[in-house]
């Protein structure tokens, strides 16, 4: 192991980590927001939109992110839609993530006992109040573990962005292997960088999960 080489190339990895985290964070936040909207559409069975969201979820869950990215990055410019790689990456990650998040939220919403809803209505709560004070707090607590798993899943998926020429961690590692033939060092730093990103998040979510378990009611 050539430690000097590692030391010299740490700045490259830091830059790449920033990029990976930037795309990851934007993608996760947008996924959660859009996923939540989609789950609401499905929960209230909004006509027409419910169908559209259903089709979107099936399409996005049954195709690989890499293919989605290639289609967006190489295919769309042919019909006049030109976006830079960073925007494509965020759109791709959100396209994939929102469907997974929506399913996670839906699982939570469906797991809330029907009695809760009926009791709320019978004490005179309006529909929005019912959602805000009764259903959502419980549903979110139930959905927490799957949301956490999805966040980690999405951050791991960012590793494919090197394929559309973004200088992320994979790209830097491949570059160093290609240029200096320092395979061990480049791969070592790659693994360390991913561990630095993912380990804390994994720990945070397992703590949150334990906390959220107290929120369960009636079971």
């Amino acid at each position: 192991m050539d430690w000097l080489f590692i030391e010299r190339n740490i700045p490259l990895y830091i830059e790449a980590t920033k990029l990976t985290l930037g795309i990851g964070a934007l993608g996760v936040v947008l996924s959660v927001m859009i996923g939540f909207l989609c789950s609401m559409v499905r929960y209230y069975r909004v006509p027409v939109l419910n169908r559209v969201v259903g089709i979107y979820i099936e399409l996005s869950r049954n195709t690989p992110l890499l293919i989605q990215l290639f289609f967006l990055y190489y295919g769309l410019p042919k019909i006049g839609i030109k976006l830079n790689a960073f925007v494509i990456a965020v759109i791709g990650l959100t396209f994939l993530g929102a469907s997974y998040m929506s399913e996670a939220f839906r699982g939570g919403l469906e797991a809330v006992n029907k009695i809760q809803e009926e009791s709320g209505l019978s004490i005179g709560l309006t529909k929005p109040q019912l959602m805000r004070y009764i259903i959502l707090p419980q549903a979110l607590a139930i959905a927490m573990p799957s949301v956490g798993a999805n966040v980690i899943f999405l951050l791991k998926e960012t590793s494919v962005f090197s394929a559309i020429a973004l200088a992320d961690l994979m790209f830097v590692a491949k570059d160093l292997i290609g240029m200096y033939y320092k395979t061990n060092e480049a791969l070592f730093m790659l693994v360390v960088a991913y561990l630095i990103i993912l380990l804390p998040i994994s720990v945070i979510f397992s703590v949150l999960e334990r906390k959220a378990r107290y929120a369960g009611f009636g079971n």
Partner: protein, 225 residues
């Protein structure tokens, strides 16, 4: 001009080439899924062990596989292992090994969950009826465990099929690589080639995975109790 781009899919041998690329994808996925099922069941049963050291080792393996992205594992094996051992291994072989490792870990966790969630009174009732240990496994435990494992296992299979798209990055010539070759060959005559070829591959993956996930969903709904 845009619509005529679709012709590139049918020019010459293009469709046949795409299909043979798809066959490579399916082959890798199928071998990895079958091996994962076999090793995963064994691994899952080992994971239910009460020995602390065995438990810790299994846990470490599972978490290590889970926390590091599959693409990184592919790189580690493709570049790292071949370098360390000084031999060249085919990308296809490497990808089957990596996917099997991953599938075994995930499948093991599903099996472990199913086995440990089986209430103890099932075994005890069997014993009190005078069944032998073998009979208890054969008629009581295994059928119920299979029901709990199957939906998760099928979901895992779709995930594995989707993830095979990554092997193009370590140089395996599968459907995506063939698509790139076709685009490169035809880009001058058909500028819209990427749109159609990648769109078509997108569609191929969908018709591959969608039926499997429907089966999983049906089984889940049917056996939920």
């Amino acid at each position: 001009m845009l619509a005529s781009g679709i012709n590139i899919l049918f020019e010459g041998q293009n469709m046949a080439r795409l299909m043979s690329g798809l066959a490579v994808t399916i082959k890798i996925a199928l071998i990895a899924v079958v091996l994962s099922l076999i090793f995963g069941v064994i691994f899952g049963i080992i994971m239910t062990s009460k020995n602390l050291i065995v438990k810790a080792v299994c846990r470490f393996y599972l978490e290590a596989i889970r926390i590091i992205p599959i693409l990184v594992w592919l790189f580690l094996f493709y570049f790292g292992l071949t370098r360390a051992m000084g031999i060249h291994l085919e990308g296809e072989f490497i990808s089957i090994v990596v996917f099997t490792m991953w599938g075994t870990a995930e499948m093991g966790d599903i099996v472990r969950g199913a086995v440990t969630s089986m209430p103890k009174h099932q075994t005890e009732s069997g014993l009190s009826l005078g069944l032998t240990k073998m009979q208890i496994y054969r008629y009581i435990l295994v059928p119920q465990t299979v029901r709990r494992v199957l939906p998760g296992a099928i979901n895992l299979a779709t995930r594995m099929v989707k993830t095979t798209s990554l092997v193009v990055i370590i140089g395996v010539v599968e459907v995506l690589k063939v698509g790139q070759q076709i685009i490169e060959g035809g880009i001058l005559n058909t500028p819209a080639a990427p749109l159609w070829v990648y769109g078509f591959i997108f569609f191929l993956y969908f018709i591959l995975c969608y039926p499997i996930s429907i089966v999983a969903k049906r089984l889940e709904a049917k056996w939920q109790s």
